[in-house]
Symmetry: C2
């Protein structure tokens, strides 16, 4: 991060027509953008929601309330502008790009074998790195994939310790029986893969999903391109948690857009050292919580950029 850029923001902020500190986290946000973009005058001209989509073999265990064909159907819904994320992107002027990750080839059922081969995980991670081309200046990575809260819960249990019940929520809305199946599937996977779960990349390959690999690539590439990232919810943060486990600093360029109502997301954010901007009981995925947070972030930047100073407005300063 650029300390000079952050200092330039603080210097201008002190001159704006408001009591010092009175915009709270809006002020912090602008400093964060400046530091990670490396610009004393940060910009949000090309914010992007990048949605990664994959299918999951573990749905064979009856872990989701929705059938797996919904992944592809929802991608068509994104294309036709009918999903929540479309309305949020339109509301706040974000671009939306969907990365379809071999939907016809679901990952393997991780209660039986590793979800992905090394080649599959690596190639998908590399593909995710393409999310931030085209001059994107703020990235909100999202996801779609029936079964993927099961993969995310398995990743958290592997990273932070089980049992699965600590990390498992109802996802799209499984009933008690479905929740029991979901928890049992994760516990079975932890037992099967247990000896191989000390390496975060091995956790990704064995328990993750293509969209989680893609999200990791996008977050990594954003860092290299000086693009700040707004994290979405329970599934997107599984990618962040894997990167954080590899290197705590790897997600320093990420803000937590919101805390999800799903499962143990609040505890995950605590472990990642991130304080969410929003807490609205959302648990949809698609990047929806992050997109809503971008609305707040853009407004924070507008205040910083366009407010008058005490001098320019002829307003008296504090006595």
């Amino acid at each position: 991060p650029s300390h000079e850029a952050a200092a330039a923001v603080r210097e201008r902020d002190a001159q704006l027509t408001k009591p010092p500190g009175s915009l709270g986290r809006l002020e912090e946000i602008v400093e964060f953008l400046a530091a990670w973009q490396g610009k004393g005058k940060p910009e949000i001209n090309r914010p992007l929601v990048a949605v990664f989509a994959g299918n999951h073999g573990v749905v064979a265990q009856g872990v989701s309330a929705f059938p797996p064909e919904v992944t592809r159907q929802m991608l068509e819904n994104f294309t036709n502008g009918g999903a929540a994320i479309n309305q949020l992107c339109k509301s706040f002027g974000l671009g939306l790009k969907v990365f379809e990750l071999a939907l016809e080839h679901p990952t393997r059922d991780f209660t039986v074998e590793p979800a992905m081969t090394e080649a599959e995980a690596a190639a998908t991670l590399a593909y995710g790195m393409e999310a931030i081309d085209d001059g994107v200046d703020l990235l909100a990575p999202g996801e779609m994939g029936i079964g993927n809260t099961t993969a995310a819960a398995a990743i958290y249990a592997a990273l932070y310790g089980g049992p699965a019940s600590l990390w498992t929520g109802r996802g799209t809305g499984v009933d008690d029986t479905g929740l029991a199946r979901k928890t049992a599937a994760i516990d079975a996977a932890l037992a099967l893969h247990g000896p191989h779960l000390s390496d975060p990349l091995e956790i990704l390959r064995r328990l993750g999903g293509r969209e989680i690999a893609g999200l990791m690539g996008a977050i990594l590439a954003a860092r290299r391109a000086r693009v700040p990232v707004v994290l979405d919810g329970y599934v997107a943060c599984a990618a962040a948690a894997l990167l954080h486990a590899l290197n705590e600093d790897a997600i320093a360029h990420c803000l937590a857009g919101h805390v999800s109502a799903e499962g143990a997301h609040a505890e995950v954010l605590r472990r990642l050292g991130k304080k969410p901007l929003l807490d609205l009981g959302m648990r949809l995925g698609e990047g929806s919580g992050a997109a809503l947070a971008v609305g707040v972030i853009k407004a924070a930047l507008a205040c910083h950029r366009d407010m008058a100073t005490f001098a320019s407005a002829g307003v008296s300063g504090a006595g």
Copy 2:
């Protein structure tokens, strides 16, 4: 509120392409708008920030970090588009209207005598009722007035019990000495007016300010006009608290836009039974927290209004 309108929203919500409940409070918001607008298809076409501005005699006690001429200077800044509230209104498409309340006649110093006469308080409250003309369909009342966090703290202490220190914060940023003067001024006022503080309207007259009276009128008029209200922070909620003390139901059409970092605002919201939408450490006033919340509220409505249904998008429902 219209139960039929709320039911119509719930019925449509159940058909939208998302798991039930997955938009969390965004779903509640739309139901709230529908109920209070009395429309199964609620609308936000003319959202308005109405800023009430007044001056305060109690500034003679050295309770503010800024000199009193800043009230008028900031109104000029609003007119010229240079304040935070201007940028927030522009970001989210809100109108902004400023109600200047006899700035050249500050209220009287309430440590010595009542801040307003009955006629002044009543006339200002009536004037505030004009805020919602012109087809406004969502109201975010804000305020500007050097010294007004002192008035608000005095109102809370009178309504909810002292000592003043429980309710007093640093406002625009007084230092420890200033905070001690501010707390002492409120304690002096409570001692002076104590026998007359059982009636909320008498609290308004003796300890309030013109902008607080105006805010009360605006909130009342919105109720009669079926206009939902988004409450701002510490000072705006003093008006809501006075109405609530008169009749708990009087602010049922109000959402808490945010919880302020100022003083005891979180405790005030708890007493009013309101859960804030945002918690971003803001303490600026001007309606800024409410305006930011309107951004979220408009996005919530856009999701409800424009998302595809399972049937229209050809997405399979939950198994």
